[in-house]
Symmetry: C2
């Protein structure tokens, strides 16, 4: 954690001052790395939380007139659900400073790139080159400004997913912003990002939502929930996540997620067959492969200082 | 947490001094609720851990002669994998004190009852009436005596699953033992136990094992694991559990688990169809049902002092 000698960013605009956008603003402010932060969001109540938490200096709802604020912004962070990116970019692009870097925090990248291409279609190539797709791998099952905290990104990864035409200095600005927040940045193409996160994040969310939704739909749900313990608690923590956000992520990364789901269901069917025919050796072999890999993973994860 | 005025148990025999058996012994000793504890287990190394941790006073491996120790035991706790219960009971019954209460800590109950019926088949009905099926709902992904701790059972549930013919005073002895360890006891028939825990424990374990085993089997597994974050960490924590123990549980509760797996796969297929046809409203409705239920569950879980 280092204190920046001069602000990394003079004026930051955060669209969507929730857990992700709010924590970024807080981390930059805590390190003196940002001159001023303007928050723009859907609801006044959440913006008031953000103002009270000193993560933003001024606040506007989306339907207020915030265009003047964008004329001298140097970084615009889009921390809104991925389905809202295109509409928002179309409102931002006509009024934002020419040199501003626009970046996002969406959990999927190919669809954000596609949305950006549409929104930028009437802009110059030079303008599009200042759009930097990115994804901070951080979050909790809570959302909103009230859930934000300055240390959210410490020892977390941020994936930066530039296109071949993206400006190197725009990428560097985004890399520096996230590193200042305490994160480690990694670069990969949007397709690779989406394939990897379909497997290690989007699929687990879908599976956890499915388990809890199925149980909750039973007449005797209360009895079942009453007996659930700490294994259930951890397995289903991510099922408490925002339905709107995860609906958007699932749809945005549909093809990669369907492919992962197919692989998973195939594997699960094998385990089902083994269980049905009492094949303890085969079941144990799969469980052992999982257990060994999970224990190894935990060690590596902790050794990287992640939690 | 109360200090028992006189020992609840004079002599406790623990078969399998692992996380479950070792923590029970530690909790009783911490409250002065047990006169002496004898540990009997498979490996000398684990028994040495248990002796060093002061959870047992004397130790025997299974192939040593421990029969004398059982002649004046008042409680025998079977904390071994469920598949080993029958063989163990057959060795215990000819030598154990006539009035001893024998209880188990197995994660499934109908199969333990069936195993006990076989093992007790040449004994009197009065003897079988002193066998009390039970299941402490506690544990971590770690196992072995070294993982045991005295507060494991505080604010946890223990299910006691007596049969109609089980002695009331034997049940009471087991209830008192677990309550002294800090747990809350609940009574239900073995069938109900198995159906509930198939849904809230055994199925989540199977699903987590399947996810990690599938990923670990890919050539590019390292890349995927490297990018996994805290959602993956919690969702898969239980996949680090003991393969031997979970193989036994899955097989022991096979029918109930298969039924739960069918329900789950049906539900997951619905979500898959919704995803495939871009039906955001239907997906979001399921996710919202899950998210609302999970958030409500967390509040109730915490309000019961559980963690």
């Amino acid at each position: 954690m280092h204190k920046a000698p001069s602000p990394v960013i003079n004026k930051l605009i955060v669209f969507g001052v929730g857990l992700i956008g709010g924590s970024c603003a807080l981390a930059l402010k805590a390190r003196g790395a940002v001159g001023e932060v303007v928050g723009i969001g859907r609801t006044r109540a959440n913006l008031d939380d953000a103002l009270r938490g000193n993560m933003i200096d001024r606040a506007y709802t989306l339907d207020e007139d915030w265009t003047q604020e964008l004329r001298n912004a140097d970084v615009v962070l889009l921390a809104v659900p991925v389905a809202q990116m295109e509409g928002l970019l179309k409102r931002i692009l006509p009024v934002v400073a020419k040199n501003a870097v626009i970046t996002d925090a969406g959990s999927t990248k190919q669809d954000v790139v596609a949305a950006a291409r549409c929104a930028y279609s009437s802009c110059s190539e030079a303008a599009f080159a200042r759009f930097v797709p990115a994804h901070p791998i951080a979050g909790t099952e809570h959302s909103g400004a009230a859930a934000a905290f300055a240390t959210l990104y410490e020892n977390k990864h941020v994936i930066v997913a530039p296109l071949p035409e993206t400006d190197a200095d725009a990428v560097q600005k985004v890399v520096t912003m996230w590193q200042t927040c305490g994160a480690q940045t990694l670069t990969m193409p949007p397709e690779q990002h989406d394939r990897i996160f379909a497997a290690v994040s989007h699929l687990p969310h879908l599976l956890a939502f499915a388990l809890v939704a199925e149980l909750a739909g039973r007449p005797e749900a209360e009895t079942f929930f009453m007996h659930a313990g700490s294994g259930f608690r951890d397995f289903t923590r991510i099922a408490g996540s925002s339905p709107e956000m995860w609906r958007d992520i699932a749809l945005a990364n549909r093809d990669a997620l369907l492919e992962e789901l197919d692989r998973y269901q195939t594997h699960l069917n094998h385990m089902r067959d083994e269980l049905k025919r009492d094949d303890g050796a085969a079941l144990e072999a799969r469980m052992k492969r999982a257990s060994d890999a999970r224990r190894h993973w935990e060690k590596v994860f902790q050794s990287r200082g992640r939690k």
